[in-house]
């Protein structure tokens, strides 16, 4: 475990001994502080101002000089809101279930028994970050076309049609699992590093627990924080994803908010919703990591 290792054993060849100047520690430190504040301050402005301006835009109407929070209230009564949210929610839940059903066993197995596969898994989890969703959806359309261009009645045709069923397009969670892979992998990986999985599993197995019981009762509870934050990131991703679902012509929440909701209100609704979902997912994520971090605090990390 990293906490046990003494860092000196890893240190690289020491830097060549150069000018032996006394170290001006006090000055050095104060300089670092100063630019830290500057960098974070400028970035803070860059990141907060657009959000604040959007917030301003959603409740202030320039023509009438009126302040009103009505867009936030209108969200729930807009036509089609319920169906699109329900659809997106179902898609998101299915995405998370498939993602974790695939990812958790694989990552545990790689951590415990097949460390050689870790680079492969890691690179696999990187591909969706650089692959354009537009390109991916082009490919998906082509693959689906192989089915729908075939003879009606063949299993392949039926499969392609079923996948694109407008009531519940199964193709969306299937693609979203790929898109969400990098973020879920990252959260889980960070959590796995802070847990001594090997000892945990050996202890549980040594006491006679079967593999499923070990995973369910010993491993998963320890990965709770990572699992939860991965799930929230995935949820946020599915709710915000626009490219793929709009090109495949489905109507989940993100597409509905752009296309259908605009007639209902003065265009303030969409920004209000995106702002709300952004802040909400951040708040939940922070809360989760904060609660999880408090439990784990002090038990790991020596430096």
């Amino acid at each position: 475990m990293r906490s046990a290792s003494i860092s000196a054993s890893h240190s690289p060849a020491a830097a060549p001994v150069g000018a032996r100047r006394p170290k001006r520690r006090g000055l050095d430190l104060s300089r670092v502080r100063w630019w830290r504040v500057a960098v974070l301050g400028v970035l803070g402005i860059y990141f907060v101002v657009p959000l604040a301006a959007t917030f301003w835009f959603t409740f202030y109407t320039p023509g009438t000089h009126q302040f009103s929070l009505s867009p936030y209230g209108q969200i729930f009564s807009a036509k089609g809101f319920g169906t699109s949210v329900l659809l997106t929610f179902k898609v998101a839940v299915l995405t998370i279930v498939i993602l974790y059903a695939l990812l958790i066993p694989a990552m545990i197995a790689v951590q415990l028994r097949l460390p050689k596969l870790k680079p492969l898994l890691e690179s696999l989890a990187m591909v969706p970050l650089v692959l354009s969703p537009v390109a991916l959806v082009v490919g998906v359309q082509t693959v689906l076309g192989w089915g729908t261009n075939g003879n009606p009645g063949t299993p392949l045709f039926q499969l392609a049609v079923d996948l694109q069923n407008g009531n519940f397009p199964l193709i969306l969670p299937i693609i979203y699992v790929v898109i969400a892979l990098p973020f879920a992998y990252r959260s889980l990986d960070a959590q796995l590093r802070s847990v001594d999985l090997k000892t945990l599993v050996e202890a549980s197995r040594g006491l006679g627990a079967s593999w499923p019981v070990t995973i369910w009762r010993a491993v998963l509870p320890n990965l709770r924080t990572g699992l939860l934050s991965g799930a929230i990131l995935t949820l946020a991703l599915v709710f915000g994803e626009y490219t793929i679902s709009s090109i495949l012509q489905f109507l989940p929440f993100s597409v509905w908010i752009v296309q259908d909701s605009q007639g209902a209100t003065s265009g303030q609704l969409a920004p209000a919703v995106s702002l709300l979902s952004l802040l909400l997912s951040w708040a939940v994520l922070f809360l989760v990591s904060f609660l999880g971090g408090r439990r784990a605090a002090g038990s790991n990390r020596s430096s």
């Binding site: 860092s7 001994v17 990141f47 959007t54 596969l117 490919g139």
Partner: protein, 288 residues
């Protein structure tokens, strides 16, 4: 024997994921590569459907499509350099900070913001510095020609999700730099510059360059943001693909869309080929 059984069991746990990726990720990519190199609807009768051809690709490397590719690459390079530099400094500043809540808040915010692309992001910036935006006059007083639906406008917006991505990818490496190494260097008489030149820099370099490559790829891949901001006035590969797909261009140009997608897959492949060796090098030091 027992170890063999264990290994088999482990493979059984990994294979579903690999198989899933082969189908959901590999199959579409393969379809693009295949269709990019084959004719699906021949323009003249001497050619047959499905014959191997470079015609699609040649078209995609000329005229407005070449311009689109070039603009995409230029935009990605520009935004990735800026985001990587700023993100690296920000990550260092965050790694140095002692406040656990602050760190946690920034990390989670980065996770959310790196995901925050597309239409909502475009909304935010349109409300801020778009036509009629709250702060447009401020920006234009220092930068008169600024408009959101131009190259520079898009370049201002992209770092909004690229910088958090850079922070996310480099923070582990910066956290892995141990205080003891700095102390050891100082004890041996090294200056701050020497520490960065001989210890910190080389250790960080792979992670930083890897983060840059990810920023580049992610910027190159972005579609919805650019679409909402510019509506096609800035030619980008991704918006061109989408407009071909949605039939805004002459019918029968499906192959061309494939060829453009082919180009982006190639760029993605180059990115991965650069990134992976770097990732390996940085992991060697930091994961021990």
């Amino acid at each position: 024997m027992i170890s063999l059984v264990k290994k088999l069991g482990a493979w059984g746990a990994v294979l579903p994921l690999l198989g899933y990726c082969a189908i959901a990720l590999g199959l579409p990519i393969w379809a693009i590569l295949w269709d990019g190199l084959h004719l699906t609807n021949p323009q003249n009768t001497s050619e047959t459907t499905g014959s191997l051809t470079l015609a699609n690709l040649t078209t995609s490397w000329h005229g407005i499509y070449l311009k689109g590719l070039e603009t995409s690459l230029r935009l990605s390079l520009f935004t990735a350099i800026i985001s990587a530099l700023v993100g690296l400094f920000a990550a260092y500043a965050i790694a140095q900070s002692k406040g656990r809540y602050f760190k946690q808040a920034v990390l989670t915010a980065s996770g959310v913001l790196a995901n925050f692309g597309g239409i909502p992001l475009a909304f935010c910036f349109i409300a801020t510095i778009g036509t009629g935006g709250v702060f447009l006059s401020w920006i234009q007083s220092v930068w008169p020609s600024f408009a959101l639906d131009t190259f520079s406008g898009v370049a201002v917006v992209y770092p909004y999700f690229l910088i958090p991505l850079m922070v996310l990818t480099t923070l582990p490496a910066l956290d892995g730099l141990r205080e003891q190494w700095k102390e050891a260097s100082a004890n041996l008489g090294g200056t701050s510059w020497q520490y960065w030149r001989h210890i910190g820099g080389p250790l960080l370099f792979p992670a930083a360059l890897g983060g840059f490559v990810l920023c580049f790829g992610s910027s190159f891949a972005a579609y919805a943001t650019a679409k909402a901001l510019t509506d096609g006035t800035v030619p980008l590969v991704t918006t061109q693909i989408a407009s071909i797909l949605s039939g805004n261009v002459i019918a029968g140009e499906n192959d061309l869309g494939m060829a453009l997608a082919f180009n982006t897959v190639i760029v993605c492949g180059v990115m991965m080929a650069v990134y992976l060796p770097l990732r390996k090098r940085s992991a060697k030091w930091l994961e021990s």
